[in-house]
Amino acid sequence: MKFRSVFEIIGPVMIGPSSSHTAGAARIGRVARTLFGRQPEWARIHLYGSFAQTYKGHGTDVAIIGGLLDYDTFDERIKTAFDEAAQLGMTFEFIAEEEEADHPNTARLVIGDSKGTMELTGISIGGGTMEVVDLNGFPLRLSGHYPALLVVHDDRSGVIASVSNVIAMQGMNIAHMEVGRKEKGEMALMVIEVDQMIDDTLLSELQALPNVTQVSTLAN
């Protein structure tokens, strides 16, 4: 089931004109912002397929920048997001790619500041719903439906068990989990969607585990 809630069908409330190209795009930008954890200073945005063809007229560009400024789909400031980004000193560039992506509405966002960079690929699957399909080179499927934990760790035996133990100790249920790694024994990423809201205690307990290097959250 790609769609879970009636409000994905009757909704979202949004700034027009296109749920795929405007609302879905804003959500991709906002997820990137949330995972980055702070306002990026610059962004390079690669658009594929229909996004690349029609982004100007649909406001896909202002929507993604709005998302990077943490605006929701119905935030009227989306229309003036370029101006607000300029006021914050954020620079950005849109690149319409010729190459075909797996999904017709795909955006690859490379964002950063003096402290670091992040790369995220999102697809807008219709009706304002989006999925994150790649984060920093790790393929994944993150719907944004559930609160999610992202745990960057060293690929060692027992790390997955210790992370899921800590989550279980908090009385939380894992709804969906994916583990990916770049190479055997190297950096790996766990994406864990849970049924409950995630609190700071859980984050600090996870952060303290051996072989865990970074923990971030994405709340729905």
Partner: protein, 302 residues
């Protein structure tokens, strides 16, 4: 994930055996899947209804899109209705006008509620606020109209598609028109099965509908397709209420729509490379709006 229904057959069976309207089954499923309270869910739909009403009001005052391609047609229709010369019936034309009003607001980057998408956002509210004048529903019944529409849209989204890029305009205005027809039937006192028949009758008449936005924008022909989607929704609902049934079961109609979408060339799926978008005038409008030599990179603020 626990769900109550995944097909129209399951949805109608549930409504019939439990003797509940489809809207109620949708509310119960939403509570089950999202673990939210009934009160929360109703309140959110109430808010969506308010957004729809505001968009119609704004559109009926007249808006223009930034591209200049659309705007003002909802007003023309209301003025025409007022002359008393309308041929196809005032309620039908009112629905068409309100569907157009919503989509004109959408094209002008106004606030709307996607139903199921923004490009098809006019049909469900347009029909609702037109039928309202005839059936005098309570606020609760109007909210239920949206849940019934949503129940059918949920099935289409999960078994086929509600995206023009994936399935053509049949997946957007086709789904919206069919969803609205099902909801009109419930509000008018029809049975759950009649809602399903209305859905099928409308969907069958939107099959094969291509997504060919001129200049890639959700304006031409989208606004007028919302108009016709609203008209078809009303006619389909009336046919079902009259006792007419679809010879092809609803779930099979949805499957047919899905397969047609998959076999449709990509030029006809929101790429602006075929259909009306590829006509000489469509191309000329694109050149006028976006300029001829599109650079493939835009540097802003850097």
């Amino acid at each position: 994930m626990e769900i109550l229904f995944g097909t129209v057959k399951e949805l109608v069976t549930l409504a019939e055996t439990q003797q509940k309207p489809i809207s109620e089954i949708m509310i119960e499923q939403e509570m089950l899947v999202t673990k939210r309270s009934r009160q929360d869910i109703i309140a959110q739909m109430d808010n969506n209804l308010t957004v729809m009403e505001n968009a119609i009001d704004r559109g009926l005052q007249g808006v223009q899109s930034t591209s200049g391609l659309t705007g003002g047609d909802a007003v023309l229709l209301q003025d025409y209705i007022a002359t008393g010369k309308g041929l196809s019936g005032d309620l039908l034309l009112d629905a068409v006008s309100k569907a157009v009003a919503t989509n004109e607001v959408n094209a002008a980057m106004g606030t709307i509620c996607a139903t199921p998408t923004a490009g098809a956002a006019g049909i469900v509210p347009g029909t609702l606020f037109a039928v309202k004048n005839k059936l005098n529903p309570t606020r609760e019944q109007m909210i239920n109209y949206l849940f019934t529409s949503g129940a059918f849209g949920f099935i289409v989204a999960n078994n086929a598609s509600i995206s023009g890029a994936a399935g053509g305009c049949q997946a957007e205005t086709g789904s919206a028109g069919s969803m609205a027809a099902a909801a009109i039937v419930e509000m008018a006192g029809g049975t759950p099965q009649q809602s399903a028949e209305a859905f099928s009758i409308v969907m069958k008449n939107m099959l094969g509908l291509v997504c060919d936005p001129v200049a890639g924008l959700v304006e031409v022909p989208c606004v007028k397709r919302n108009a016709m989607g609203a008209a078809k929704a009303l006619v389909g609902a009336d046919m079902a209420l009259a006792g007419i049934v679809s010879r092809i079961p609803t779930d099979e109609v949805i499957e047919a729509m899905h397969k047609i979408g998959q076999t449709m060339p990509s030029a006809l799926r929101e790429t602006a490379k075929g259909g009306l978008a590829a006509t000489p005038t469509g191309k000329a409008l694109e050149a006028k709006i976006f300029g001829k030599g599109n650079a493939n990179s835009d540097l802003v603020n850097s």
